[in-house]
Amino acid sequence: MRAMGLKAVLFVVAGLATSFAGLNVAAAADAAKGKIAFTKHGCWQCHGFAGQGSVATSNGRVIARTQLPLDAFKSFVRTTNGQMPPFREAVLSDAELDDIYAYLQSLPAPKPVADIPLLNDARSQ
């Protein structure tokens, strides 16, 4: 994906907004805005563009399709005081945070490990 500039992200997201299977139109619109906010505010830096997380930057936590309810999610983002810095209202609006949550919920579920042959090689003896 060559979506390196913000304009490019907007272009790609505009295309993706209509392709989220299983989402209603309003939710898709929110998710599209959420992807832009996710990119603009640097969430991807530690959590990956697909919310996959990393043992190196997010203690391995996966935020794609997060199981946290929206209120708990927003509360965490506003008040976290650990490795992740807080994102307060002056930086990230409530509306943007709602959109980011919608974006994370819109991400596809991962394939089962059994369906990925390459992972069968993992640490095989």
């Binding site: 640097g42 530690c46 490795q83 991962p110 490990v113 993992a122």
Partner: protein
Amino acid sequence: MTMPTKKTSPQLDRRKFLATAAIAGAAGSVPPATAALAAAPTSPQPEPQSAPRLPSALPPNARVAAAESGTPQAPASSSENGPPGSDFMVDVIKSLDIKYLPANPAASYRGLHESLINYGKNTMPEFLTCMHEESGVAMCHGYFKATGKPLMTLVHGVVGLQHATMAVYNAWCDRVPVLIVGGNDMDAAHRAPGVPTFHSAQDINAIVRDFTKWDDTPVSLQHFAESFVRMYKIATTPPYGPVMMSLDEGLQNDSVRNFGRPLYVPKFFAAAPPQGDLAAVKEAARLLANAEHPVIVVDRAARTQNGVDLLIELAELLQAPVVNQGNRMNFPSTHYLSRPPAVISQADVVIGMELSDYWGTVNGFLDNGNFGFGEYVTKIKPGTKLISISSVDLLTKSNYQDFQQFQSIDVSMPGDAEATLPSLIEAVKSAIGNDRKDALAKRGDGIRQSHLKGLQATKEAAAIAWDAQPVSTARLLMELYAQIKDENWSLVSTSGNTSNWANRLWPIEKHYQWLGWSGGYGIGYGAPASIGAALGNRDLGRFSVSIQSDGDLMFAPGVLWTAARHKIPLLAVMHNNRGYHQEVMHIQRMSNFRNRVANIGNDLAPIGTSIMNPDIQYHDLAKSLGWWAKGPITDPADLGPAIKEAVAVVKTGQPALVNVWTQPR
């Protein structure tokens, strides 16, 4: 000693000899002032009172200009008085079986350079042309970790050594022996003015003294011989480390002379590594044998495959989990006792072996918004006993803080871990009572179950974003592994950060399959160290592969040419996340701590941290430097076929690079 001495030659000192040579060979081509000097008496004399005084801002005369920018004049030949001292130096160097010498050429060691390639026939060592001194040192660094054999490098005494310093610091922190020799023209009264004098210093070694094990400045050929063998011995005695020698240009060019006794090459005998005190070993064994939850933590514990085998024996004896911090291979990733750092929190006894940061092993630091100062969090239970075996305790310097924060240790054994393991194993065998054996077996069964669950969880984590674009780092590693798994592979470097997927997913079982990181975390290690390691692996019949990050490659990309020029086969697969990503996150977090929106300009990341607009075409760069290359790969479906092509190229003996756009971590 093969070098003849010429007892009957005139006992000219170097300066007298140079003056004579100047008269004989160059008087007609030098400026009048130099000719006057050449014609002067051969003993030191004050400048004649009648000599015209030159203004200080004169443009360089012909000699000075030629010294650095023109066609070099032949250095004064000492053939009339015996062979040059640098020939004898080559005899000394050859006595130590040093196979290669990666270096950037420099005038201040031209005498030795000439002897190496002509008198020494450019073998043992073979000169490898580097385009940066940092590359030369880092190639030595990587080579040692692949082969266990040290190399030497040569540097220009001032500017070259300044270039080399970061790589020297990496070698120091990573406890790797590198022999560094810097040319230096010490005689201020006779060396060429201008550029050569800019490139001279009283004490060139000073700049690296804080992070080398030892240094010296020999003033005679016999002094060189003794110091070179001594520096080799010091560098290769644990704790290993880089060593430095300042080599006077005059000494290189002096003729071999008899100083009252014949010159000789001292014979090298390897020193036995230091072992932990036996009483402390027994106490450590008693604690481990009686612990309910002992944990073994290793960082640079295994210097060789034998060290790996000994660690397996100890771990299985205790049925204790092993946390591998990864600066060396240490312990097989496939072994059921290989566990993540989280197990340390359950420990009642922790034994740390050659840890680079014991404090950080049992404590946490949260850089958490207190404007970057963070909080301290202990990771262990109160009363946990701590044991250490570390050779680094025998060598601590003051200035650079690589010794890390102080940690109180219950049983501390300054000594080499691998050398101490046999006695520790025997002591543990004696300390384990028969009544403990069932409990140990049960503990092992529990760890085995945890290991299997952990592996499944790791695979599930890898599956997330499997088809994402840019390519996920888990996908990157597994696409690569699929193409090399049938080779005798060696993962020589993983620069950047790929979430440690290699250790988490690859079956790493042999000592050479994982060579660790840079040591000092100075960026720019990955590319040259990979090539140095690949050089060693080439001769051992191994297939070398590296994960090459973007920022790391751009510090000194000329080393790619060195690999092509000297036919060093290496498969470099890029983790190209298009930024200095650690700094990307730092600036983002500082912005949030300060309640500001990070200014990303026209990029994705905070200004000053991204490497995009324009994107660097690393594959084109590599091609221009003689590599086979392909990219950019952005679709994970294209990755496997590209790597497969590259593997075929590498198997012909050439280096190959695949430029892959990746997720950040």
